[in-house]
């Protein structure tokens, strides 16, 4: 046998390879007998790979030949070849008389095929974008219902409480459907009091900043030092003052939440007194200021 470069290194490689094999076998056994044990599966497979890594690194740094080398870099620029390529490219023209006609015809073919390649994209999208983005099931008289479809009674609210509501018999997932309903003191309502019977008011749950669900409502616990009642979006913390028809008081939103005018019917249930005031969802080209 030849002289060994690193007898200890060789032993480490052997040991690590055996350990890797053992860990891999352990992984297989775990997979068969305890296949949902994420920790042990990860541990056994991770250790098998770690031992394999150890074997390879020790082999690469200690066991095999470590001689360094020097080599020249390739010269990238070869002027004579470049010249030849350029000449050959230009030589395309030789012996062809209707050059412009051919180029023109080629352009026609290219343009036609380009349009043909892009045209099917039209089947991906509709042409009534504005209608789609502004769609909302809310109309005058539509009852507000809770998550499980029960009508929302005005009596179930107390000042400072809030809930999520939907239009009766509508697709809850539609962006224009969900509203957040809050109650504050009637005296606290500063704007559009006619839309907030008993201080109960509803706003679109979809943030006018980036479309997240408004899911935080803060109501002052101690008037003199607390901040006024507001709805907050948990994504970027746009904050809407519910006293002033959801005017933006903090955060990146550019418009108030659309308000849903409410009224209370003969059965004491809450119903919409009209459609949204304002565009639902994040701003886009079709959204006009003040609408």
């Amino acid at each position: 046998m030849k002289q060994s470069r690193s007898p200890i290194g060789e032993l480490v490689v052997v040991g690590a390879l055996l350990a890797a094999g053992a860990c891999a076998v352990a992984f297989v056994l775990l997979y068969v007998f305890d296949s949902l044990n994420a920790q042990l599966l990860g541990l056994s497979l991770g250790l098998a790979l770690a031992f394999l890594a150890l074997a390879c690194v020790v082999a690469g740094k200690k066991v095999v030949d470590q001689t360094k080398g020097v080599e020249e870099r390739p010269e990238l620029v070869q002027e004579d070849v470049e010249k030849e390529v350029a000449e050959k490219t230009v030589a395309l023209r030789e012996g062809v008389s209707r050059r412009k006609l051919i180029i023109g015809a080629g352009a026609v073919a290219g343009a036609g095929l380009g349009v043909a390649a892009i045209a099917p994209l039209a089947s991906l999208g509709p042409d009534n974008v504005s209608e789609i983005l502004k769609a909302s099931p809310w109309r005058k008289g539509v009852p507000l219902v809770d998550d499980s479809g029960r009508p929302l009674s005005a009596d179930q609210f107390e000042v400072g409480s809030w809930t999520t509501a939907f239009p009766q018999n509508a697709d809850k997932k539609a962006l224009g459907a969900s509203v957040v309903v809050v109650q504050i003191l009637e005296s606290e309502v500063l704007e559009n009091k006619q839309w907030a019977p008993r201080g109960i008011m509803a706003y679109s749950k979809i943030c006018t900043h980036a479309g997240c669900a408004i899911s935080l409502f803060r109501y002052p616990t101690y008037e003199p030092t607390s901040q006024p009642p507001a709805l907050v979006c948990p994504c970027h913390y746009s904050t809407f003052d519910v006293r002033k028809s959801a005017e933006v008081v903090f955060g990146p939103a550019g418009r108030p939440l659309p308000q849903l005018p409410l009224s209370i019917d003969a059965n004491n249930n809450i119903v919409a007194a009209g459609g949204y005031v304002g565009n639902i969802g994040p701003a886009w080209w079709g959204v006009r200021k003040g609408t």
Partner: protein, 501 residues
């Protein structure tokens, strides 16, 4: 007969067997010269060259684990009622996408381990690419002839972020839905075409039709991975074609490469790095919980939660969205760009434009059109290093601002105050960092060229009469820092001046 054959086979040496094997391959493919070139390929040794390798190996782990997950994942928004092993969600209505993800976690053998390994690998993949990009930036490895490869690398970072976002948006849990809502808001905000584009992508108003998740799935498991794979191929081919760049050192010139050959030493080291990366990722995947979607519940457009944080590589964008003052960009009554446009499109647009254009920008400034195969140390180019530090500080500050709500919860600083603080910090800190780094680089460079610069002290001399006296000495005003030439000790301090050692 059989005994004789056995004996003859034993007489054949290792070398002959391998020669036969090589011949077998060469007769069919004719690639022996290529194999030889590959075996002789030299790797200059430097630990900072390993970040790109970590990214590559993480991507391999992503392909392997992702394939396993794709067998069990069902990209469908069809509604179903959960009846699987996780009791807290029994009876909850959810999409098949979320249901099948829960199946991978609780019912598929090794499913949770593989899913978490896949997620960790994605996080590490993007980290490794970003650190690799910084290494390339600060060492000037993007200069000609590698400027073409720099463009591919920057594209890979962008694709990695897109791929990661598409991936964690697939399970249809609460976190992924909130992320997609924001993505929808960002697309809507694009001037003029945003509405059309969003309706096109989501096939209707958010949360989109059943077609949307199919599109997202095919983007995540086919389109983007194939493009990434192809670009990695070109990236590595270009590295090999130009050969590795190297730091200056003994025997190293612009015209040569000094390093350890691929065969045998580097092949084993690289394999070791592959297995070490995979080992780390599987250990994380098994032992450290990541993205526990079963705790989040299914997404519905009317649901949201406080404290939702995206994967780290989206943090800079959420920070930018949160720091923007509240306004939509309107002219008259018309909305030109919604607020998310600035943080979600313009900000990353500026960052990637600067990255893409940097090699050309630097070429304009330095007028240096030569080929460079020797790397700079960061201090060698104070101007570049200062700019890069300021640039990445700017992004990092905004990234940290994305976690301001967690800072509020964990430390108690009021959120509103933090937003103002981070707005100012994002503008001021880069400037401070620029000048600080510039100064440090200049100093390091100057004190390296003149170790005794600004040295002062006393020298003890013996006078002819035998007495001793102290003479105060000050050496070199340092007036000529940064000119690069390295005078010898003798030239600098003069013959009978004291030595530094």
């Amino acid at each position: 007969m059989s005994v004789r054959r056995k004996r003859r086979r034993r007489e054949v040496s290792d070398e002959e067997t391998v020669t036969d094997a090589v011949r077998f391959v060469d007769e069919r493919l004719g690639i022996a010269p290529l194999i030889r070139a590959g075996m002789n390929y030299l790797f200059p040794d430097n630990w900072t060259f390993l970040f790109g390798e970590i990214a590559l190996y993480s991507f391999i782990v992503l392909l392997v684990t992702g394939t396993y997950l794709a067998f069990f994942f069902d990209p469908s928004t069809a509604q179903t009622t959960y009846t699987g092993a996780y009791a807290p969600l029994h009876g909850v209505r959810m999409s098949d996408a979320y249901n099948s993800t829960l199946g991978i976690v609780f019912d598929v053998p090794a499913g949770l381990t593989i899913r978490q390994t896949h997620h960790w690998a994605a996080l590490v993949f993007v980290v490794a690419m970003v650190v690799h990009l910084m290494r390339i930036f600060f060492t000037g490895a993007f200069r000609k002839p590698r400027d073409a490869n720099w463009l591919i690398g920057v594209t890979l970072v962008a694709l990695g972020i897109v791929e990661g976002f598409a991936g964690y948006s697939l399970p249809d849990d609460l976190l992924s839905g909130m992320g997609l809502a924001i993505a929808y808001g960002v697309v809507l905000s694009i001037p003029f075409v945003g509405g059309q584009l969003a309706v096109l992508i989501w096939d209707g108003n958010f949360p989109g039709s059943s077609a949307f998740i199919d599109r997202l799935f095919i983007v995540h498991v086919f389109i983007v991975p194939v493009v990434i794979l192809a670009l990695i191929g070109v990236h590595l081919t270009l590295v090999a074609r130009l050969k590795h760049s190297q730091f200056p050192g003994k025997g190293r010139t612009e015209r040569n490469v000094v390093g350890t050959p691929l065969w045998p030493a580097y092949a084993f080291r690289a394999l070791g790095m592959l297995f070490a990366t995979a080992a780390m990722l599987f250990l994380l995947g098994g032992l450290v919980q990541i993205n526990p979607v079963w705790q989040y519940g299914p997404y519905e457009p009317w649901l949201g939660t406080n404290g939702a944080q995206p994967d780290w590589y989206m943090g800079w964008l959420i920070g930018a969205l949160r720091l923007m003052p509240g306004f939509d960009f309107t002219i008259g009554n018309a909305t030109i760009a919604g607020n998310p446009f600035f943080g979600g499109i313009l900000f990353p647009g500026v960052v990637f434009t600067v990255l893409y254009l940097w090699p050309s920008i630097e070429r304009r400034i330095t007028k240096d059109r030569r080929r460079h195969d020797l790397l700079d140390r960061p201090r060698d180019k104070p101007w570049r290093t200062a700019f890069g530090s300021a640039f990445f500080t700017w992004i990092f500050t905004i990234f940290v601002a994305g976690a301001a709500d967690r800072i509020l919860v964990d430390v108690g600083f009021p959120y509103e105050g933090q937003v103002i603080f981070f707005r100012i910090l994002a503008l001021v800190l880069p400037v401070v960092v620029f000048f600080a780094v510039y100064y440090v680089c200049r100093e390091l460079k100057a004190s390296e060229a003149r170790p005794l610069r600004r040295w002062y002290g006393t020298v003890v001399r013996r006078a002819p009469d035998g007495s001793y006296r102290e003479i105060p000495v000050q050496i070199d005003s340092g007036a000529s820092d940064g000119n690069g030439s390295r005078p010898t000790e003798e030239e600098r301090v003069g013959g009978d001046q004291p030595r530094s050692d």
